[in-house]
């Protein structure tokens, strides 16, 4: 018997009390005896060879680590294995790590001067001029040339989005504690303990059991702590093994912004055929992503970006091409949305131009072309009842009285615009099968302990999984504990990314709890333990029936399911300063159903705020391959006064294969605000094809008008 008691309600979050009292311990709060502080010596040039390194300080008592100290392979293992942990000879981007210094005295550590002499080469910063492609993908549906020939109008456009910095308020940091046999335990602020585990095994040349990774309370991740921690953990671990002492490596904000990954800049070109009645007959898209100097996750960002590049629209003929290329800038990586914010920005802004060209309003053009159940996506995936594109569009339009407001605001300095968007939950294609994630449930006296590698990074992992387990097992929410993500004790549940934690790992936890429930029968947990002894149930991912994906042709079910949303943004432009004031953001989201409504709304509001920053404020100024504005004074995230009031509407549409009907919601919210805001500016008469829409860009658009 399943007692549904907490799912769908706002239980108090598991870690709430610790966080509001200051008792929660983040990495820098932890004390490690005998610890050495570490510092990374980084390249100051974008491309060249290291000719000489001179230490302009007394090196006694210092531990100095270079590439030759790496016991295993000098590679931060991820996808391509092209990125060294420490540069041996060639540096390919500013801030590339060369050495690690460690010392017990922080002041001495920070004042040590290292002089690196380089033979510089000519760097390339232009993705269009790159001679090294990390990944190329083509998605074909139907015959795009046929589709274009059938069109009454062909509309072209080029759209650009720059870097975006994740700006988690807690900077990156780890502590590595060596053991006496060449193994190490790493504590860190991170999203994916098993990613770090895998990378460290390679770097240290040891087996599974010699490396242990423990996630500490993490002050924000947003993707920025998906793969980068493998790098910082590697630095600390190698130093710790050499020093035979714990090593602590924590970045300050400047270094964090300068050296760690960011959202991939994108140049996206559209060529779209449309019939007089507004139907899209052909979509041709070309995407160039700037990967920075090493591949990291560029191939997957490209993949997701391209799959989402046609937006939530139906069209029989599509050709979506893209490439992720190398430039001599710090490598880019994961950031919430992972390619989709860039490509959906482009298609949504493009679509409003198409609407204008055929004389339809933004609402109508989307009503005509939105995907419906039974339609196929760009990869030929046939959508079922979990496709809510039209519903969220209509709900948002009604809620904001969109058509009426469009008329009312005409001729004023205010505008209203919308965006329709979607986001696939889970890893792309056969990714989940490859991950083969596991979740375990251990019976305890009162209830159970959840053992997963999924991390709490603010989104509510602990709380949401505990609710699922509690209700399924039929015990109180308080009776469920969530174990610390420690690779020594939890199975590999896959990374905490890709909007997968609830839908995929939550489902595993649910299955484990169902299994446990059957075993308990009529016994209480305590009764069972007394009678049978300890029990742990482990469940592993099973690919749902009827889902297939061909990695070669890029056809099939790219994702198990999608979330759907529609944003309506109202903005006001100051005619004197060209500043754009976001007045209000209304968003209608469908993500199955909410396990914890307040946490889900938290994802929507938080992700939307990041989207507003992406649209208006957040610009990474690169000069000679280096982030010039790497201080919070100059990299601008929205403050309270920059963030509009948000009206969030949740559209319920339970997804049968998700736990209690839930799908993912972590990334969906960030895909929508930027195009909605740009489309609102369009309504004011300001046409932009690049974000952020800074006052300077708005001014230029106005002057050129």
């Amino acid at each position: 018997m399943r007692v549904r008691r907490t799912v769908g309600t706002n239980v108090l979050r598991k870690d709430g009390v610790e966080k509001v009292t200051g008792r929660a311990k983040y990495l820098d709060d932890l004390a490690f005896p005998d610890v050495l502080h570490a510092r990374t010596i980084r390249s100051t040039i974008p491309l060249g060879d290291i000719v000489n390194i001179h230490f302009d300080f007394d090196t006694a008592d210092f531990v100095i680590v270079d590439a030759h100290d790496i016991p295993g392979r000098n590679v931060v293992a991820l996808i391509e294995d092209d990125q060294p942990l420490l540069a041996e000879r060639t540096v390919r981007h500013v801030a590339e790590p060369i050495l690690i210094l460690a010392h017990a005295d922080r002041a001495r550590l920070m004042s040590a001067v290292v002089d690196v002499v380089y033979r510089e080469a000519t760097p390339n910063y232009d993705p269009r001029r790159s001679d090294h492609c990390f990944k190329q993908i083509v998605i074909d549906k139907g015959d795009v040339h046929l589709g274009l020939s059938e069109a009454d109008l062909v509309i072209e456009g080029e759209y650009r989005a720059g870097h975006q910095e994740q700006l988690y308020i807690e900077p990156q940091g780890v502590v590595a504690v060596p053991d006496r046999c060449g193994g190490v335990t790493v504590y860190g602020s991170l999203q994916c303990p098993y990613y770090v585990h895998r990378a460290l095994k390679d770097l240290l040349g040891v087996g599974d059991d010699k490396v242990r990774v423990v996630q500490t309370e993490t002050g924000g991740g947003f993707g920025g702590k998906e793969e980068y921690p493998s790098m910082i953990a590697g630095h600390a671990a190698v130093a710790a093994l050499k020093a035979r002492r714990p090593v602590k490596l924590v970045y300050d904000r400047v270094e964090d912004m300068l050296a760690t990954t960011k959202r991939h800049p994108a140049i996206i070109r559209h060529r779209t055929g449309v019939a007089k009645d507004g139907r899209l007959t052909a979509m041709e898209v070309d995407v160039v992503l700037d990967g920075g100097a090493y591949a990291t996750l560029s191939a997957v960002v490209l993949s997701r970006g391209l799959i989402h590049a046609s937006g939530p629209y139906r069209c029989d003929h599509m050709r979506i091409c893209g490439r992720a290329v190398m430039t001599n800038t710090p490598p880019n990586g994961a950031f919430r949305g992972f390619g989709a914010p860039q490509t959906q920005f482009a298609v949504e802004v493009h679509l409003d131009r198409i609407a204008d060209a055929v004389g339809l309003d933004p609402l109508r053009i989307r009503e005509i072309n939105a995907l419906r159940p039974g339609d196929t996506t760009a990869t030929g995936q046939r959508l079922g009842a979990d496709c809510s594109a039209l519903s969220v569009l209509r709900a948002a339009a009604k809620r904001t009285r969109f058509a009426q407001r469009r008329r009312q605001l005409r001729g004023t300095h205010r505008g209203i615009g919308l965006s329709l968007f979607c986001h696939g939950s889970g890893f792309t294609g056969s990714g989940e099968s490859k991950l083969a994630s596991k979740a375990s449930l251990a019976l305890t006296d009162r209830g159970a302990r959840i053992l997963v590698a999924s991390t709490e990074i603010g989104q509510g992992t602990r709380t949401m999984l505990a609710q699922i387990a509690a209700d399924t097992l039929g015990v109180p929410y308080e009776a469920i504990e969530v174990a610390e993500p420690d690779t020594g004790t939890v199975p590999d549940s896959g990374p905490t990314v890709a909007s997968r934690t609830c839908m995929i790992v939550g489902r595993l936890v649910q299955r484990a709890a169902e299994d446990m429930r059957k075993r308990l029968g009529r016994l209480t947990p305590r009764g069972y333990l007394r009678k049978h002894g300890p029990v742990i149930v482990t469940c592993q991912y099973e690919k749902p029936q009827g889902i297939s994906w061909d990695e070669e042709t890029y056809r099939g079910a790219a994702y198990e399911s999608y979330g759907w949303a529609c944003d309506v943004a109202e903005v006001e432009v100051d005619p004197i300063t060209w500043q754009v004031h976001p007045v209000r953001l209304t968003t209608v989201h469908e993500f199955g159903r909410a396990i914890h409504p307040m946490l889900a709304v938290g994802q929507i509001e938080g992700g939307s705020a990041q989207g507003v920053g992406y649209a208006l404020l957040e610009e990474v100024v690169m000069r000679e391959g280096r982030m010039a504005n790497c201080q919070l004074t100059n990299y601008l995230v929205p403050t309270t006064l920059d963030t509009p009031p948000m009206d969030v509407v949740v559209f319920k549409n339970p997804y049968p294969r998700g736990p209690f009907g839930a799908k993912g919601v972590g990334e969906l919210p960030i895909d929508g605000p930027a195009p909605a805001i740009i489309n609102a500016l369009r309504h004011v008469g300001i046409e932009l094809r690049e974000i952020p829409a800074t006052p300077e860009r708005v001014m230029t658009a106005c002057i050129l008008r």
């Binding site: 008691r5 108090l12 709430g16 509001v20 009292t21 308020i169 924000g220 603010g458 705020a609 403050t639």
Partner: protein, 167 residues
Amino acid sequence: MHFTLNGTRVDVAAHPMTRLLDVLRDVCGLTGTKEGCGEGECGACTVLIDGAPVNACLVPFAHARLARVTTIEGLRGRHPLQHAFVEHGGAQCGICTPGMIMAAIALGNRPSIQQIRAGLAGNLCRCTGYAAIYRSIRAALPARQSGSRRRRSKRRGRLPPRGGQSR
């Protein structure tokens, strides 16, 4: 150097130019106050000095002399804001939360949304989009008038009654 820390007179030895933030965290062992930027932009290090919110990363220890310094630990988990932040989603990853709560204390009773937004303009949050923070603050302030709210603030981590619904 003598000062009052969370209501207790203390005598702490540290160089007068040490950042108050580092004295609190490293010397006094109070790690509730966080460093997010070191440049007075994020507000994660907000503490109260004589009741006024300041960025501890920009205050020399010397300026704490004879002053009353209050950190998140000084609230002892009993301030209505603390429970409200848990109940209403004001804390997600929690790293900005101590600074946010300390700044919110300075808002006084019954702040309007505009006053909250202006009063917290020096505190960055990357997780919540601020909305749940406003809701938390509005729920908590003024809490002192209602007896039932005071009782709830002591419940600390246990489920609220009746099905776990939160308003």
